[in-house]
């Protein structure tokens, strides 16, 4: 019985109701914070770490990224007569250690984050999907 004798005026409830009403009517700085995801997207952070990309000209296929990866995500495979890393994104934890380890700064992390797929095999990103060519200013 003590709980109601102390709060018999129910000011707590009325204060709470006023706060939620302000949210409903957007009084003060209370905007809608969510976005309509498939139609509009959140602004990504400037150093967002998404899907990997490998510079085709810079990569020397040394395998240091393979060694540095804590989850054994990376495997070095042969592609068009040269050695390139292959990322199994199903195991990747997007830590970015491969970027730090690369002696040629050939790996970068893209802004792509919609990586869901139907099979585990399709999560293995080979060089055919990872390579890009840097635009060279002449």
């Amino acid at each position: 019985m003590t709980w109601i004798s102390k709060n018999w005026t129910m000011t707590g409830i009325i204060t709470g109701l006023m706060v939620t009403l302000k949210h409903v009517l957007h009084i003060g700085n209370r905007p809608t914070v969510t976005v309509q995801y498939p139609y509009e997207r959140m602004k990504l952070a400037p150093r967002f770490r998404g899907r990997h990309a490998v510079d085709e000209d810079a990569c020397i296929g040394c395998g240091i990224c393979e060694v540095s990866c804590p989850n054994s995500t990376i495997r070095i495979v042969k592609y068009k007569g040269r050695w390139f890393p292959e990322f199994n994104l199903g195991m990747c934890l997007f830590c970015g250690l491969c970027l730090d380890a690369c002696p040629m700064n050939a790996i970068k992390m893209d802004r792509g984050y919609e990586l869901a797929d139907y099979t585990r095999e399709s999560l293995i990103y080979g060089p055919d999907r990872l390579l890009f060519k840097k635009e060279v200013n002449k």
Partner: protein, 367 residues
Amino acid sequence: MMIANAYELIVYILTTIGVYEPINNIFMSFGLDDILKIIIMLVEIAILFAFVLVTIMFLTWMERKVVAMVQSRYGPMVTGPRGLLQPVMDGVKLIGKEDIIPEKADRWIFTLAPFIVFVPALLVFIPLPFGESLIISDLRVGLLYIIAISAISPVAILLAGWASNNKYSLLGAMRAVAQDISYTIPLALAAIAVVLFTSSLSTVDIVNAQAGTWFGIIPKWFIFIQPLGFILFLIASIAEMGRIPFDFQESEQELVAGFFTEYSGMKFAMFFLAEYAHLFAVSGIIVTLFLGGWNGPVIPFIPVQITSLVYFLIKTYAVIFFAMWLRDTVPRVRIDQLLNLGWKIMIPLALLNLLITGFVVTAGVIQ
């Protein structure tokens, strides 16, 4: 000409168009004029139920929108304009779901329970005045009928909880019944205090007693004569509906979903619809008893049936919005607090309210 209920309204409209006489003559020539009456009644009941079902679908959308606005979200936006067709999609999805009956369940009672919940939820609307002459039947015991019909739902909830053969369902059902019983008493006592003023249980008489104003400004609503009764009735009806400050029958964190844990598909949809039908009905009853029913300023050149319906719906939606708003604001109380509030505080206060009302009516202070 005074039109008492929706039957006479339909007859009046048909007569005005000039269709009623020929149709009536055809039926009369076969000696079947009772059949015509039954057909007209079925039509009006069909209109009422269609209206109620559309309202329920709108309410599910509104509930999600209000929750979303309180939580700084958008809510349903994709299906239809502002997500208005979301309830239709939900209905299609629920019809498409598999209708599972647990192996150990009591099949007959398990199937019966959703219907016993759903039918009274619709029957409550029969003596509810939606507007001037927009009432299916002005029962002389209208208020008693409403309270009696709403008292069926705990039975159905107990049936559902028992037949599911699931501990969570049974616990939810037991709680729901304990809650319903302890809150029906203050609910009825608060309603009786209103009846003392009108000396009639008929809902139309109660609404008519609230017509007019004091000093030309304050409407003669019973909320101003009966503020304590209004608060008691509001709290008791929210508790009886099982909405959030008192939603013990389905408290998700403790019992999975309460008495409809085991239900799926269309049977679940019937519990869900009955809940919103109950919300709409209870809001309508609060408006009828305390907020002046369909009374409002008269607007010339528009039939009073339409304006009164609009006034009724505005007031009802205000009460519904309050219930949703409260749901999004207040956390759930404990079960012992709930029963303490019901038995130790609400019932004595309701009796006190009744006593004061009795003195006031006998003294003839307020006419």
